[in-house]
């Protein structure tokens, strides 16, 4: 069964149609990249998938593991195995990263019928995953994303992703605002999470990220529709030719 199936999806923001008939299927183990110019609908797609109420799905279907997610709130989608790494992670002063993560991990575990992690088991898991994304211990003691640099925020997203062990990982322009070193660390973290039963949807404006996270499929999103699909070479093509020819059409 496909991990994610999007069928003829239409979505609006403030009554303005943004996604206009999008189809996409992601099978377990696959990494799909969606590339597109500004305004193509990239962020709308990730928000509609995650269930953000500010984005309205007007028609079509989104199936996660064969289940229609229409009636599922964002936290239910997360508990069902969907994870969205934000383009702009939200700062939450006053809640420590550790407390936040423990609440998240245990919420997802509870929904999946697993035992709650106690403090010791949780710390073991943190130690384990910390190495994977090379995140500094002091960031975990601080308030969620508060005063983090752009790179630290993105690393924190990947860290959360590794802790929650989702089936479907959506990365919304994770490369934006990253320098080469941070990009490499974030990509290494993502690559370490690649597995036969996990799927990725990597949304990006630039080809650069795909040098590090090599996709199985590349799709070009223009004006709310996928206008071309191919393998990783399509990304290189876009890099040299740009989006101009698509946008002009």
């Amino acid at each position: 069964m496909p991990l994610l199936e999007i069928k003829d999806l239409h979505a609006s923001v403030a009554d303005k149609p943004i996604i206009k008939g999008l189809n996409l299927t992601i099978n377990p183990g696959e990494v799909h990249a969606i590339m597109g110019p500004n305004g193509a609908g990239k962020s709308t797609l990730s928000n509609v998938l995650a269930g953000n109420e500010a984005y309205e799905k007007t028609s079509g279907q989104i199936l996660l593991d064969g289940v229609d997610v229409d009636d599922m709130a964002p936290h239910e989608r997360a508990c069902a195995g969907m994870f969205l790494a934000f383009q702009y992670p939200v700062e939450i002063p006053g809640i420590s990263n550790m407390y936040f993560l423990k609440a998240a991990v245990n919420a997802v575990r509870e929904a999946q019928g697993k035992d709650q992690l106690d403090a010791m088991d949780f710390l073991d898991l943190v130690e384990d995953k910390k190495k994977m994304v090379k995140i500094r211990g002091d960031l975990l003691e601080r308030a969620v994303n508060s005063g983090f640099s752009g790179g630290e925020k993105k690393r924190n997203e990947i860290f959360q992703m590794s802790m929650l062990e989702p089936k479907l990982c959506i990365l919304d322009e994770t490369d934006s605002g990253l320098d080469i070193d941070a990009l490499r660390i974030v990509s290494d973290g993502v690559n370490a999470l690649r597995s036969a039963d996990r799927g990725f949807l990597v949304i990006t404006h630039y080809q650069r990220l795909l040098d590090y996270i090599v996709p199985d499929f590349v799709h070009v999103l223009v004006d709310g529709q996928i206008v071309k699909s191919g393998d990783k070479d399509l990304a290189l093509e876009l890099e040299s030719g740009g989006y101009a020819s698509w946008v002009a059409e």
């Binding site: 709130a73 964002p74 936290h75 508990c79 994870f83 934000f86």
Partner: protein, 396 residues
């Protein structure tokens, strides 16, 4: 003036001025007639209430009287003096808290006990001093007078915790004077957990010497009607005052915070962060006045008051006031009354956290920001637990 005369004068002042009415600007939003019209007795009994020691040194007052038995301050390092205010001879008593109003005057006239802490020059006291006031006599009035003196370069942490028995009606009327000498560091906390039927009023007055730090965290949970008057005065350059606070109100509680920071000399910093969470039909009042006097150049003062209303019937009056007579200063103030950040709630949800839990986490986070500068880890954890417990029963 010697203490006897001072007290006689205060008694006369109290008779003369009486309790304030809401016609007076400083008492505009709080009606204290309930206190003025109540009858208070002098009945005394030991207290059945329990408390949790937060550090090695504890000073315990049972219904307004020091309990040597429950306290623990017998073995103190050299240069540290702690005891009953009744045993203190210091001409500075009453020199800071000299306001002619019902609460300060009656306190000066009638105080029955209280603590004093005297830290000699250069002495850094490692243990915090945990002062506990237990109150469980119906109809009692407790006039508590406290005195803190930190000599030059001294360091001390004092936690005042007021604990009352639920359902008991009494009046706590406390005054604390704090002298922070040059380069000294006074870290003061107030945890107010009075009975929900009690009246609680406190005036805290502090003078800050050059390059000294006075920090105050006031957390309010209890009392039907209450007020904190927190007043600081910079008397030497490069002093720093931190006055943060949190008020968590429900039912019909009314709580008023009046802050006054007097920048009388140059190059001092003061920052104040106050947060309120108000449920049911409770009412909060915050009035923060920062005065920057003519010579107080290079003053850096920040004041912020944020409020979260959990019920439509809850109300808050917030009045930040800047009064600046110097020209080279950096002063900002702000006040908000609002709801929770939807974007943050969405973020938590995408991590699997349901909206109810996410809501509670954000309310906690809102409150917890006030605790960022709490240096004492035990105190921080203790306050966090109290806040959690409060939120469990609130409409979040």
């Amino acid at each position: 003036m010697d203490l006897v005369k001072l007290r006689e004068k205060a008694a006369a002042d109290f008779k003369e001025v009486g309790f304030p009415t809401s016609k007076e600007e400083l008492w505009r939003f709080i009606d204290v007639s309930r206190v003025a019209n109540a009858e208070f007795s002098n009945e005394w009994k030991p207290s059945d209430l329990e408390f949790q020691s937060l550090d090695k040194i504890t000073v315990v007052f049972e219904n307004g009287k020091l309990s040597r038995e429950k306290s623990n301050f017998d073995e103190l390092p050299a240069g540290v003096c702690i005891g009953s205010i009744l045993d203190l001879v210091d001409p500075r008593i009453g020199t800071l808290a000299d306001a002619k109003n019902a609460f300060v005057s009656s306190n000066t006239a009638y105080f029955s006990d209280g603590y004093f802490v005297d830290i000699a020059e250069g002495v850094k006291l490692e243990s915090a001093i945990h002062v506990v006031y237990l109150a469980d006599v119906d109809g009692a009035a407790f006039h508590l007078r406290n005195f803190i003196s930190a000599g030059a370069d001294a360091e001390v942490s004092v936690i005042e915790e007021y604990i009352g028995k639920s359902g008991t009606q009494y009046w706590t009327n406390a005054v604390t004077e704090a002298f922070t000498a040059d380069r000294a560091w006074v870290d003061h906390y107030k945890i107010q957990r009075e009975s929900e039927a009690a009246f609680h009023f406190q005036t805290l007055e502090s003078h800050l010497g050059a390059a000294s730090v006075f920090s105050n965290h006031a957390v309010t949970f209890g009392a039907a009607l209450g007020r904190n008057d927190i007043r600081g005065k910079m008397t030497g350059e490069e002093g720093e005052a931190i006055c943060n606070g949190l008020y968590l109100l429900k039912d019909n509680q009314i709580f008023d915070t009046h802050m006054f920071m007097d920048h009388a000399v140059p190059k001092c910093n003061s920052h104040e962060l106050y947060k309120g969470i108000l449920d049911d039909t409770s009412r909060g009042i915050f009035c923060g006045r920062i005065l920057v006097q003519k010579d107080a150049q290079e003053t850096d003062a920040i004041q912020n008051n944020g409020n979260l209303l959990l019920s439509r019937a809850a109300k808050v009056h917030t009045m930040p006031q800047l009064e600046i007579y110097a020209d080279d200063v950096k002063c900002t103030h702000g006040a908000t009354v609002g709801e929770l950040d939807e974007e943050a709630l969405y973020y938590l949800q995408t991590r699997g956290i349901n909206p109810k839990k996410g809501h509670a986490m954000l309310v906690f986070a809102f409150a917890n920001e006030v605790m960022d500068e709490v240096k004492c880890k035990t105190v921080k954890t203790y306050i966090e637990e109290l806040v959690y417990a409060w939120l469990e029963n609130a409409h979040v």
